[in-house]
């Protein structure tokens, strides 16, 4: 089975949602999730990316990771637009609980309440979480 579509775009476009719930460092979940998002974009699916719980820290500006020997991958979120991944959502409650505002984030996002997010999740066809 081919990984890319031959030509003329995908036969099926599904609503994919990626739910990021983990802090960017400490475990590998966030980094490998981002790799997954980039691949979905290459398949021209309708991609939605959500950040909630400690996942909101993935978008925090001015990450300094040298001291923990990890690559700061937050700039990659700014590249998502170039892959036509523009539907980025942050859960309001998660942001507020951590004392953050949208001004602290590296990319523009839509802030949704937990209730609104629930509605958006209901509309998805594939949800991948980590």
């Amino acid at each position: 089975m081919e990984e890319e579509w031959d030509e003329g775009g995908p036969e099926v476009v599904k609503r994919f949602m990626y739910v990021n719930r983990k802090a960017p460092y400490g475990t590998v979940y966030a980094l490998e999730m981002l790799e997954k998002v980039l691949i979905a974009a290459a398949f021209e699916q309708d991609v939605h990316v959500v950040f909630m719980d400690d996942g909101v820290y993935q978008l925090k500006k001015e990450q300094e990771t040298k001291a923990i020997n990890m690559k700061n991958f937050s700039p990659t979120f700014r590249a998502l637009e170039g892959y036509d991944v523009e539907k980025l959502y942050v859960e309001k409650e998660s942001l507020e609980a951590r004392g953050l505002t949208v001004d602290d984030l590296v990319v523009p996002v839509e802030v949704l309440s937990s209730e609104e997010l629930k509605g958006l999740m209901d509309k998805q066809e594939v949800i991948l979480t980590a």
Binding site: M1, E3, E4, P10, V12, K14, F16, K22, V28, Y29, E32, E35, K36, I39, A40, A42, F43, Q45, E125, V126, I127, L128, T129, A130
Partner: protein, 119 residues
């Protein structure tokens, strides 16, 4: 029903692989189809034939291989996740193959339900 399965955890650290295996087996026995099982994160360790659990422990690597043998289930290990964990073709258990993340996306597209096992 056609299921796609994603396994995100290692077989010895977490129950997710056991749950995924038992789910897949039960679904197949009920006549459902498993379009693909995709192994990501530490889940790629499910494919390591060098694993040697103790004799009184379940051996998930062998169980997956047996499931693939019996039902022709497509067991796919993510290449990027596998390489950084030292999982390569020469240590793959029977029934597994290494391929790209695109296989996961395709599974999400083709399956009626795509189910994640892991945190």
């Amino acid at each position: 029903m056609k299921f796609g399965i994603l396994v995100n955890e290692g077989p010895f650290q977490h129950q997710a692989s056991d749950s995924a295996y038992l789910f897949a087996k039960a679904a197949l026995e009920k006549g459902h189809e498993i379009y693909r099982v995709f192994f990501y994160y530490d889940g790629v360790n499910n494919a390591n034939k060098l694993s040697e659990p103790q004799a009184d422990d379940r051996d998930l690597v062998k169980l997956w291989s047996a499931l693939a043998e019996e039902y022709k289930v497509d067991l796919v290990v993510c290449v990027a996740a596998a390489l950084r964990r030292g999982i390569k073709d020469d240590i793959l258990a029977p029934g597994f193959r290494i391929s790209g993340l695109g296989q996961l996306i395709e599974s999400g597209i083709q399956a009626d339900r795509q189910i994640t096992f892991g945190d």
